[in-house]
């Protein structure tokens, strides 16, 4: 059996877990290739115009995989931690895809909802495996291996690597000597080299060390998030505001870049809070980059250059 997993959205966060689980059960797992122009175009024409860029990209990956897989794995991601959600669109994603009017293999979509209890994800995976004919014992074993794999991956992010570094086996980034920039975004923007127009590569080429929210310990994020006037119910937003708040307070970076997708609902508010905070602290240069399907390299590079000039000018004075 061959199961297809689109390389989009929270794939960038959970691929070790997802891939390992199905591989352990003996399935052949096929991921789509990194985003390219064709995948993007396919997605843009299949999704409704109002959808955000990452959802469009996701459609493109799913359609790309469709002819090559007997099943598509598209979990319904409701919640990753108790008391939070991720995004309303991810709660409807498998249904949106199924009813997009395209030829697709069956879509397997366990509901992953940590609000339903600490074992909710595990049980959802085991139940889904049962539908495909795997016994509970076997699925439990696969789950354990998959969770360990995911933990190893998370630990590597804690060492200052980006998901791209991990998957490409990049050498350790020099951690001490270079000036650091905090780059905040959702993993599927930042670590999709095509969608982010190679932002991380560009910053490193200019001699900066890139810090992302994923590299901070969960404890720090939780402490910072607790300062918010009301518990934020979006886990990705919590990560962004937590990391942003931490570095605004403690320094340690020379600037902050917030990358948002055009049409992103949660980030329209999260970004606003972040920017207002940054302005009040007033110490760190702050850049907001908006990605959409028409973003050309040119515009972004110009804005980035101007921002880095400002960062360097401040550093010199």
């Amino acid at each position: 059996m061959r199961i297809g997993i689109p390389r989009a959205l929270l794939y960038y966060h959970y691929y070790p877990l997802w891939l390992t689980f199905w591989q352990q059960l003996g399935l052949q797992v096929k991921s789509s290739p990194p985003t390219n122009k064709e995948i993007l175009n396919q997605g843009v024409s299949a999704a409704v115009a109002e959808a955000c860029l990452p959802v469009k990209v996701f459609y493109g990956h799913a359609l790309h995989l469709a002819p090559q897989a007997e099943f598509l794995f598209v979990p319904r991601l409701v919640s990753a931690e108790p008391g939070t959600y991720i995004c309303p669109k991810l709660m409807g994603l498998p249904d949106m895809l199924r009813h997009a009017g395209k030829k697709l293999p069956p879509v397997i979509s366990p509901t992953l909802n940590a609000r339903c209890g600490p074992r909710a994800w595990e049980l959802a995976f085991i139940r889904t495996a049962a539908v495909l004919g795997f016994g509970a014992r076997q699925a439990e074993r696969a789950w354990k291996v998959a969770v360990a794999e995911q933990a190893r991956y998370t630990a590597k992010l804690g060492e200052g690597k980006t998901p791209l570094d991990v998957s490409e086996g990049a050498e350790d980034d020099d951690r001490s000597s270079r000036k650091a920039l905090l780059v905040l975004s959702h993993p599927y923007n930042l670590f999709d080299d095509f969608v982010s127009l190679g932002l991380i590569r560009r910053l490193r080429a200019r001699g900066y060390r890139v810090i992302t929210a994923e590299m901070l310990p969960g404890r720090v994020i939780a402490e910072e998030a607790a300062r918010l006037p009301k518990a934020l119910f979006w886990s990705l937003g919590r990560l962004i505001l937590g990391a942003g708040g931490y570095y605004l307070r403690s320094g340690g970076v020379v600037g902050i870049i917030h990358v948002v997708s055009f049409g992103c609902g949660p980030d329209s508010l999260v970004g606003e809070l972040l920017e207002r905070q940054a302005r009040r602290f007033g110490k760190l240069p702050f850049l907001l980059l908006t990605l959409d399907e028409h973003t050309g390299d040119g515009g972004m590079v110009t804005r980035l250059e101007a921002f880095l000039d400002m960062v360097e000018w401040r550093g010199a004075s």
Binding site: R76, T84, C87, P88, G92, T111, P229, G265, G271
Partner: protein, 376 residues
Amino acid sequence: MKVTFPHMGHLHVPLRSFFAALGVETVVPPPIGRETLALGTRYAPEFACLPLKVNVGNFLQAARMGADTVVMAGGVGPCRFGYYAQVEREILRDLGVKLDMVVLEPPQGHWRELWLGLRAITGGADLKAIWRAGKLAWRKLTALDELERELHRVRAREATPGASTEAWRKIVDRLDRAEAVSEVEEVARQGKALLAAIPRREDDDVLRVGLVGEIYTLLEPAVNLEVERVLGEMGVEVERSIYLSDWVKTNLVFHSLHLRDDREEYRLAAPYLGHFVGGHGLESISFTIRYARAGLDGVIQLAPLTCMPEIVAESILPKVSRDVGIPVLTFMLDEHASEVGMRTRLEAFCDLLRERRRRKERFLVGARDAAADLRE
């Protein structure tokens, strides 16, 4: 203390009544207009959904009129509404506008906080007084909702365009001024008579269209470009999927008691959408199915641009529309939406619906004739 609150349809009528009955002074923001939108777009985040922008406009206008406290509802996600108040507070703070915000969070089983919030605004009024004020406000709300349903029927059939809208304005005004439940009953009776007395057209050629979508755009004529009036005056009877009183019942009463009265919506939507997605995304699907089954001619979906639950629904509605056989038209609205553009699309949609109806009738007549032939 001078209390204000965001506009949403005729919400200000029961709210003002509630506070007045408790002796709390209110400042109702001016009706949403150009100025409101201009302020909202200037100071709210560019990509926020429209209701937040209009809220900010309302608050700034109310502050100019002397309001010092905003009362609004909170939420627990997954949608943006649950964090509106926090963002709005930051915007007001950075502008140096002195407005306290009292956010009434949905009780989720804990009534204490809601109760404390209410006590704080009402200056420590006792339970009995709050209950009495609540009863009057609730009766005003249900009367408004009942009469508005009637308004939709009458408007599609009025002989002089605008006659029923004129009557409706009078009704809202009188209900706003009513001071006791008995008075509300009286005004409701008069209101019904007023609407019933409006001269009708000779023909009864009306289309029936269901409105589904996001609650704020459905309930607030100023942001939906008065789509109900425009449709009504084109001879279309509208049925709306959400009325404020139903929403209060479902969300404040049933959910807080951990009861559900929306199981049927989940059941209907299930073949197309297997999970709630925040806001009213799921209801947009289930009500489209309901309306098709009830024999309505078409469905219109209304939502603010970038509205997450409604983008989920919009992605699925084409399939629902084909399966259950009802045309669906979507309007995603923002501060740039134009009345002219909307009217053109509505006219084309109604032409399509009339044409479909004629074809269906021809088909039915044909089928009847064929059946008669067979019998002979």
